[in-house]
Symmetry: C2
């Protein structure tokens, strides 16, 4: 398979959601033009994104919504359940543990960690907060695939380093800092402040 860009992967996620909605509305087929219209992009882009994975749909007939959703789901690895750990049980961490959407998509948070002795041993939903010193042991024992980082910026790199050392290859980082790892590791950043700063830029320079 060719190397696929992050933008394509992100659009596939969006198509997946769109198809889900269409299937709920009992729509059986859809054209690339209609998908493009919903996503506010061009039909050529939609066809190009889907072409990476072989031939879906028939010329003039469009795509069968269920088949296409199934194919994208397989591409994105959503047929599998993923074991997720979360490190840093502050306000954001706590909200994510309670965020139901993750579980619906097959991402199960099954282990949570903090270093604050006053909350270690307490529960959020039905999970007990573990001390960070047990990180490696539990990541291995629970076969964790993905670690969500919700610690302060100055602690984030150290958590990634430990988790990589213990075999974790995928991270979702909420700490406002650029994290480093080897090529065999993927770190996705949720830089909420950076998105706000982009809005601030547009308000200042373009939308005045």
């Amino acid at each position: 398979m060719k190397k696929i860009s992050e933008s394509t992967i992100n659009r596939l996620s969006k198509y997946y959601r769109t198809l889900q909605t269409l299937i709920e509305k009992e729509v059986e087929t859809i054209s690339s033009e209609d998908i493009a219209d919903i996503e506010s992009i061009t039909a050529a882009q939609v066809r190009k994104d889907l072409s990476f994975f072989g031939t879906f749909g028939k010329r003039g007939l469009g795509y069968n919504t269920k088949d296409l959703k199934g194919a994208i789901s397989k591409i994105l690895g959503l047929k599998k359940k993923w074991n997720v750990a979360l490190v840093g049980v502050g306000n954001i961490g706590r909200a994510l543990v309670k965020y139901n959407e993750f579980k619906v998509q097959g991402f199960n948070i099954i282990a949570i960690f903090d270093k604050d002795p006053s909350i270690i041993g307490t529960r959020v939903e039905n999970l007990t907060i573990h001390p960070e010193k047990n990180l490696c042991k539990i990541l291995k024992g629970e076969r964790i695939d993905i670690v969500i980082i919700t610690v302060p910026a100055d602690q984030a790199q150290s958590i990634v380093d430990q988790a990589v050392y213990c075999g974790v290859k995928a991270f979702l980082n909420f700490a406002p800092i650029s994290l480093k790892a080897t090529e065999k590791v993927v770190i996705k950043n949720e830089n909420m402040s950076i998105e706000l700063e982009s809005l601030s830029y547009h308000l200042t320079n373009r939308l005045k």
Copy 2:
């Protein structure tokens, strides 16, 4: 000023943070090579990003960290305080109201809304939850610049439509759905599930 890409704007945000850290460590000058190394990108990219805004630094001497931080801060509109409203006071919304980083960066959440009668009138931090039916009046009265959307997916577009109608031009959307607005409006998406799905893709296809 030339049209600047979202990627450049996002990198400027990162440089800004890096410079902040360097200034705290009393580093006075830095080369584009050193910035590039910290951000894991090329020095040519750093120079190109900064060249959009004129000439910073001197050949062979690098950039003065305080001057460069000041210039980027001005470009990103961070010298100003922004009035922010948040709609949807569930787990994620509540965590964001308490998230201190936003305020530090000049984004002040000053009005919050929900449609659930059982929480309207109650307080989060020192803010009272307003009913969504008062959205327009309060957005205008409080001169809100940015609205954060933390309602369920099926309610998000309606909130954006109302807020745009009432003069808001910038949105940070946490609902897992593609939202639409006119060209004169900017919507940034925090698609946490989409980032997780990208990790799932990489774990399935590349990192096995």
